[in-house]
Symmetry: C2
Subunit: 351 residues, 2 copies
């Protein structure tokens, strides 16, 4: 039985002090500590930027009922994921993460143990990707849980990866496999429904074992610093973006920002077998999961052919999915049949 201790037993000051102790950790990158002058304990955090580097700043929110469902998302996963979404933005710019501030808006149902779990997930990300939580805000909520993280990063100015610099003739490439996060979500939603429909919920066992890869991709996505380090380092990359709202939306974003067109070859989109199997179970198209599913956190990038050869010698986890074209040629999807159609900019729709 998990304990449920009301946050009111600690109060706001007690809760902040508890979090201050939780986030007071050591990470591998010593400069993160050397350059931090003051973390949680004053009106703001204070840090020295690395000389000669530019700063990056990003923010992402996770709202209960919109971005997550507590029925099948643990607070620990949420802590990790709220960090991962921001980290992925830093990775997509070719930077390294530095300092984060975390705002939590918590309804009464949230216990101290749940806050601990959230920070356990967040701290796991801090340790894995070498950055620190240096401040935040805690408030009550009359409704849902709302989580907002803002994260700074640093990069060498000449190595920043923009989305506005794709060039006609570039290869269009992605890291990893796509569609798995959406496939994982589909399974979790189905098992939630099965739980609700079960004659005896107490003995209900969700059927999750064979879907581990997709579930992990959905619940604990990994920002691709391994790939972005190559893209911003040994390989010359023209443009990059992280895939948070589905491949189709992100191809459109690169094309719009760069004033170019693109051709995406459906049969080249990398899909793993678990994602394929899940799509088949739901009688849906696995390619649609890749094109229109959100929260992928892989990277989409463009470079010249010769540079991709270099990249291929450094990693086996990058795939060519198409080519950048002139703007006048539009943004096209080439189907397996050889037919071409417009690639629609449909992604996760908030409004």
């Amino acid at each position: 039985m998990i304990k449920h201790t009301d946050i009111s037993t600690l109060g706001e000051i007690g809760l902040i002090e508890r979090v201050r102790q939780i986030v007071d950790i050591r990470v591998d990158d010593a400069t993160i500590h050397e350059r931090l002058i003051l973390g949680i304990s004053d009106d703001t955090a204070v840090f020295r930027p690395d000389p000669g580097k530019v700063m990056l700043l990003t923010t992402d929110s996770f709202i209960e009922g919109v971005h997550f469902d507590l029925t099948f998302t643990s607070l620990r996963h949420l802590g990790w994921k709220a960090m991962a979404a921001n980290l992925s933005d830093i990775a997509a710019m070719g930077g390294s993460p530095r300092y984060a501030v975390v705002s939590l808006s918590l309804p009464k149902k949230v216990s101290i143990e749940m806050v601990d779990e959230f920070y356990a997930g967040a701290i796991a990300a801090c340790k894995r990707y070498s950055f620190l939580i240096v401040g935040g805000d805690m408030s009550a909520s009359m409704g849902n849980i709302a989580i907002t993280v803002a994260l700074t990063g640093e990069a060498k100015e000449e190595q920043v990866l923009y989305r506005k610099t794709a060039k006609p003739g570039d290869l269009l490439c992605v890291s990893g496999h796509l569609g798995a996060s959406h496939a994982g979500l589909k399974v979790l939603q189905r098992e939630k429904q099965r739980y609700h429909d079960a004659p005896d919920p107490a003995t209900f066992k969700p059927n999750l074992e064979q879907y581990t890869l997709a579930l992990e991709k959905h619940l604990m996505p990994k920002p691709r610093f391994d790939i972005s380090a190559l893209l911003a380092g040994r390989v010359t990359t023209h443009a990059a973006i992280d895939i948070s709202d589905g491949l189709a939306s992100e191809v459109h974003r690169i094309c719009t920002a760069s004033g170019v067109g693109a051709k995406v070859y459906e049969h080249n989109i990398p899909l793993d077998s678990v994602t394929r199997n899940i799509a088949i179970e739901f009688s849906e198209s696995p390619t649609d999961y890749a094109l229109f599913g959100g929260e992928e956190y892989e990277l989409l990038f463009t470079m010249e052919d010769a540079e991709f050869e270099k990249l291929e010698s450094l990693t086996s986890d990058a795939t060519i999915i198409g080519r950048i074209t002139e703007q006048s040629e539009g943004i096209r999807l080439v189907k397996e049949s050889g037919e071409e159609e417009e690639l629609k900019a449909i992604g996760w729709r908030h409004f």
Copy 2:
């Protein structure tokens, strides 16, 4: 009649583009523009820090039903206030604001016009205090409006104002007048009740004219960069904090962080006549408004007597309210009668 256009007519991408255009402004401080390499248009903002300065980072959230009530708070006021709360933290550290990211979580009832109003208030703060909005996040909400701002600032390292450096014997001082924000809130809550109780709400006129000073303090608080510039510049300040949760809480925070005690003289707490009159109307103590009312955004600071003399020659808007003592003497309130009592650390309670 105010137009109400559903956000779904624009969609998320349309809404972000609209906001990008709204926040694309010029501010007086040219370095803000020179050092910004990229605002809203990529995965993160990119900027160069000022050489030799330290960076500050802070965040604050505003949750509907907790921090604000749309019955009497306009979205324009909210836009200003969400910025002001963060700006006040930067001011309390002796810094200057630089770049902000804004996360909005919006339920269906929020129209495009309301988003425009929010940003009109936020942009007014950008222009007034010379900083830029360079990114953010937009999402739907199943419940309340949630607003989170994260703001960076910069300061000379040797001029940063901490709360941990108060020394026994220091004067304890505040900027401006206290209690007005809470007094303004009391009036707004009363007029809301009168509106609900009115036999004919359509012809109801709220009674607000004589309370303008307090209402403005509550709805459009001004971060005290005028005072913090002196504290971090021509005067040697030992410790500083902004008063966001009531004077009593903030005195405790300075004392705890510095390992000191304090004596606060009740009759020296600066109160304006509007606040006094409102407290009298409610048969409450105006000192209690100052000690325990939130969202004041004045500064609380400590310095030696000789430095206060210097400060007094530069501004008439600073008041001595007490003295820092040894920790063993406790944190005490000296009443007008001469009696002493413990100063309780009661402020705004979230949990």
